[in-house]
């Protein structure tokens, strides 16, 4: 049986792992390779590294730490941030990343999704979607969320964008629900269910994990393939081995 995946997310700024609340006010939580190894040892199924400053500053992911991580860890990892071309993707993939995730640059130029999918296969193209519910009740996409001063609200509806990027060749979707991110009251089940309805590729829930029950809820009620979280893991409030034991006790297939 295919396991549901638990994915610690490491936001990277200037070569260190940081974490903010609702995408703002970042504090340093640790060194990249050290944290990557800690999560590997604890049983993380995969890791995601977001270079949160790369996209707004118009610069690329720094390749050195990607290679350091690739040398040390033996579980898959995905790198996001500032990948704007097939060449950028090639560089990160050749440095040892298993997947690349594109977010703001895909909104600037959607064809980027198909260009990377054609060059390297859909399996390594993850599209990250930052989404927030507007006053009219619609979920819409946000761009450049790594830097609050540059974050833009777009007209594009989140569900339309998910359908578009799938058609273009996205192999996986990470839906970051900004309204629930960092406040630990649970994943945005309503939005994730709506996304699940239209997503045939793997769907990763992001934003809102606070307790092990939140993970169980999102797997059971939104049928997501993976759940991503940052602060609860960085703080030690949730230990991955205990989380997996609890999920397994609830009949949810996980790798132990």
């Amino acid at each position: 049986m295919l396991s549901r995946r638990i994915i610690p997310c490491l936001d990277v700024r200037d070569g260190q792992v940081v974490k903010g609340v609702r995408f703002r006010d970042h504090v340093v939580v640790g060194e990249i390779v050290e944290l990557a190894l800690r999560y590997r040892d604890e049983g993380a199924d995969e890791l995601v590294f977001y270079d949160i400053t790369a996209s707004p500053e118009g610069r690329r992911v720094d390749r050195d730490w990607v290679e350091r991580v690739a040398r040390e860890i033996d579980i898959p990892f995905c790198v996001a941030g500032g990948i704007r071309s097939v060449e950028d993707a090639r560089e990160v993939l050749h440095a040892g990343a298993d997947k690349i995730s594109i977010n703001s640059p895909a909104l600037e130029r959607p064809e980027l999704v198909s260009e990377i999918a054609e060059a390297f296969g859909v399996q390594c193209v993850v599209v990250g979607v930052d989404s927030l519910r507007d006053d009219d009740g619609e979920w819409r996409v946000r761009q450049y969320t790594g830097d609050p001063s540059r974050t833009k609200a777009l007209r594009r509806r989140t569900l339309d964008w998910i359908a578009d990027v799938q058609a273009l060749g996205a192999g996986e979707i990470v839906l970051n629900c900004m309204g629930t991110d960092g406040v630990r009251r649970g994943y945005d089940i309503e939005q994730l269910r709506a996304a699940r309805e239209i997503t045939r590729v793997p769907l990763v829930a992001s934003g809102g994990a606070g307790t092990p029950a939140h993970f169980a809820d999102v797997f059971r009620d939104a049928d997501v393939d993976a759940a991503l979280a940052a602060s609860v893991f960085h703080s030690g409030d949730i230990a991955i081995p205990a989380l997996k034991r609890e999920l397994r006790a609830q009949g949810i297939e996980v790798r132990v």
Partner: protein, 196 residues
């Protein structure tokens, strides 16, 4: 022992090389036919699509070189698919050293393609490559095409229907999952390959 990684442009070459380094083996990255022929172990990594994968092998003049190898050869992910007779992906003729044709994995509600994540391995034949593999062991998969189950299947896995997670035909072996990203289980299987 001299291990070579066939440099045919696959993007997981670095990760496979690092995985071998963690096992204490420094593999040479090469597209030189003489270096490949004289190696003790040959690994064909690969990520991407079948047609460009075969095109790169043809352009590097490696198709007949690989077909003619007699030492242990391991294809990883797309590399395993390229060992087969052909692939539905882009209707591609492959190396044909392992029987079977690669097929698109069927998707249906609740069954996502690409098949992505950790899945259970089921050894279906006794083989030195799978020595020490235990019931319930899992490996990391990322693929949309798969080799059906057949006589050449060494390890099966299931995503909707059963497919070959590892194959073997004489000195040619393949792993559909990524041993370089499958933690201790992946290391075990790579070590088994190196000890052949």
């Amino acid at each position: 022992m001299r291990v070579v990684l066939v440099d045919a442009g696959g993007t997981n070459i670095g990760s496979v090389r690092y995985a071998l380094q963690r096992l204490g083996t420094d593999a040479e990255l090469t597209a030189d036919p003489a270096r490949i022929r004289s190696a003790s172990h040959v690994i064909l990594p690969g990520v991407g699509a079948a047609a460009p994968g075969m095109r790169r092998l043809r352009e590097a003049g490696l198709v007949d070189v690989l077909r003619g190898l007699t030492q242990p050869v391991l294809g990883v992910c797309l590399g395993m698919q390229l060992l087969c007779e052909g692939s539905e992906e882009g209707d591609t003729e492959c190396l044909g050293v392992v029987p079977g044709r690669v097929r698109r994995m069927p998707d249906s509600p609740g069954l996502r393609v690409p098949h992505m994540g950790w899945n259970t391995l089921q050894a279906s034949a006794h083989h030195p490559l799978t020595e020490g593999l235990r019931e319930g062991d899992t490996a990391y998969f990322v693929h949309s095409y798969a080799v059906p189950v057949g006589d050449y299947t060494l390890v099966a896995s299931r995503h909707g229907e059963a497919f070959s997670a590892a194959v073997g035909a004489g000195n040619f072996m393949g792993m559909q999952f990524h041993p370089e990203r499958s933690a201790a289980v992946g290391a075990l299987l790579l070590r088994n390959f190196l000890s052949l």
